[in-house]
Amino acid sequence: MKLTIAWLYPDLMSTYGDRGNIIVLTKRCQWRGIDVGVKEITLETSVSELKKSDLIFMGGAQDRQQKLAGTDFLKHKGPFVKEMVEKGIPALFVCAAYQFVGHYYKPYQGDPIPGAGIFDLYTEHPSDQAKRLIGNVVAEVISSKKTIVGFENHGGRTYLGKNLAPFAKVIKGFGNNGEDGYEGAVYKNAIGSYFHGPLLPKNPHVADWLIAKALEEKYGKKIKLVESDDTLEWHAHRFAL
């Protein structure tokens, strides 16, 4: 079996260990004998490369880089990513990317910045005095009841619309907005999350879910991945609980 992962804006939207997600997806495919390739999609890459891929990842960014990537995403790549997500292509949107796929991001001053409208959500930055939501975070995935662990660091507060389900329930930390107790969102086979940077290494169940979904969509059959020895992954996971 073969899998192509599209990594959107690796040079712009990869702030703090986002690469960990790509490393983990790649290795976990290779361990199962899946022939995996990573396509780096950035400003100059044509959308035809994007359309050939089976799994999408997009990470966090700093303000300046976010502006550069945001303009390109809205104009060029976003509409195709939306089409792919609608078709069931699995995707992982982390941090800034999670904000990007919503309807808009409203800074504490100035006009809202439009998003790609892939997820029914919006994000607001309450004021420059508002505390950034920073720290270790633990949540429970609603569908599987399994925990996820990570680190969050965001100023924006994200609110989900009625056409979108939350990904997990916050156990420790802030999550989407620090108010409603939810973290992230799932739409079809796409996940959005505020767990920034390397979300997948300590949460191998999420990595495998994405890989399995990608193969199922591509080959049109139910896929059960070969078990892998995840002792170390779960040890690091439990340590963060």
Binding site: T15, D18, R19, I23, D63, L68, H196, P201
Partner: protein, 419 residues
């Protein structure tokens, strides 16, 4: 009030050293600052020639020590925050001990730099009438402030915020300052700051040192001026190299200083050396660093253990490359997630551990030992896990620790954390 603050500061310094409470590097200054918030500029006014501030993500401690040594070799007396306490309380603590030196040489924390610049910039009083900040009445035109800007890399985003935010704060602070600026031409972010400040530039002009592939942990590969992608003739490491914007033509300034021999291995120490030599050139004095001994925890040797402080992706990659070039066969990585390290350990996924050859044995320890072991597993390396740091410190070893881990390693090996 000034004298009371200084006296009390000295007393606290004596007490904390005598009773083993600490190195006396921050508390004396903290207490003196609370009694007298303007004590920093009052004390700095006693310096005979001026102050030299050293800022940047990596290399502050080593570079400021190099500058200290150069000045002392030229018969000048120096007060220096050698313990690495680089907030205003650390600088005040150093000055309380010895404020009548010729020069103050201070490494300054990234976030603290703007406020320290505004307090310590010696400049004529009359030029700045609308500024509300307190200007010492002893200000004299014949004293100088020199600011050395080394680099900005991604580091502890949870604590420092984004790279660009720091650069913006620095730019604002420098705009109001009459200080002499020394800037790294090879770092586009720093060079951009230096261009408007009419800086003296240092940089490396040696194409044989170009790195063949680009590291992932790069921060400033887009033009600060117009936002287009920068083109590199070559990269030395991270985003440092010979760069040019293909659109607006902003480009790496020609360095005024580019020839130097580093007393320590690693390309990053060549940058530190060139920065220190730039200070010497501006002051018209000789620079001889041949016998330079590294600062604590920075390539420091304790018995058969060599400690290379490594606290962010750019620094870690450089340390790793350097120890491998030195022929290291046994490595120990120690990862803590305490306040001085940054609580977020995500950055280890930006370190290129994949460069470690198969015949090198790797140990891991620290608060987040399992995060490290997991990162290494995905780099194809099976690391030996030591929950107890003391057990890991045996035999000849190159240790790459985060900041608080470095202090712990020193405590175990030398019986003390800092100096």
């Amino acid at each position: 009030m000034l004298h009371i603050a200084i006296l009390l500061g000295k007393l606290v310094s004596w007490a904390s050293k005598t009773f083993g409470l600490g190195a006396g590097a921050t508390w004396p200054g903290e207490i003196a600052l609370r009694l007298n918030p303007t004590i920093l500029s009052s004390l700095a006014c006693n310096l005979k020639k001026g102050v030299i501030l050293v800022a940047g993500t990596n290399g502050k401690t080593t570079t400021s020590k190099m500058i200290q040594i150069i000045l002392e070799q030229n018969g000048l007396s120096v007060v220096h925050n050698s313990s690495g306490a680089n907030l205003d309380n650390g600088i005040v603590s150093a000055l309380i001990g010895k404020s009548n030196a010729d020069w103050g040489v201070f490494e300054v924390d990234e976030n603290t730099l703007p406020s320290v610049i505004s307090v310590l910039s010696f400049r004529p009083k009359s030029r700045n009438p609308e500024k509300k900040q307190w200007i010492p009445d002893q200000v004299r035109d014949d004293k100088r402030t020199i600011i050395v800007l080394l680099n900005i890399f991604r580091d502890q985003l949870d604590r420092y915020g984004e790279v660009d935010v720091i650069a913006q704060k620095w730019e604002k602070a420098l705009r109001g300052s009459k200080a002499t600026i020394i800037a790294n031409a090879d770092d586009p972010l720093i060079a951009h700051l230096g261009l408007f400040a009419k800086a003296t530039f240092f940089g490396i002009n040696d194409k044989t040192k170009f790195f063949t592939t680009m590291e992932h942990a790069t921060d400033s590969t887009f033009c600060l001026n117009c936002g287009s992608r920068l083109k590199y003739e070559g990269i030395y490491f991270s985003h440092l190299g010979i760069w040019e914007c293909t659109k607006c033509r902003e480009k790496r300034p020609k360095p005024n200083i580019s020839d130097g021999k580093s007393p320590l291995p690693g390309l990053y120490n060549l940058y530190n050396t060139l920065a220190a030599m730039s200070v010497a050139k501006i002051l018209g004095i000789k620079a001889d660093l041949a016998g330079f001994h590294p600062a604590f925890g920075r390539q420091e040797e304790v018995g058969n253990v060599k400690i290379f402080l490594s606290k962010n992706p750019a620094g870690f990659n450089q340390s790793l490359r350097t120890v491998l070039e030195l022929g290291a066969k046994n490595l120990l990585f120690v990862l803590n997630d305490r306040i001085p390290d940054g609580r977020d350990v995500s950055w280890i996924w930006d370190v290129d551990f994949e460069m470690i050859p198969k015949d090198v044995s790797v140990r891991v320890s620290g608060d987040r030992v399992y995060d490290l072991a997991l990162r290494l597993k995905y780099a194809g390396i099976k690391a030996d896990i030591y929950e107890n740091l003391e057990d890991a410190l045996s035999g000849p070893l190159y240790v790459l620790p985060t900041y608080s881990a470095m202090l712990e390693v020193r405590k175990i090996l030398k019986g003390r954390k800092i100096l």
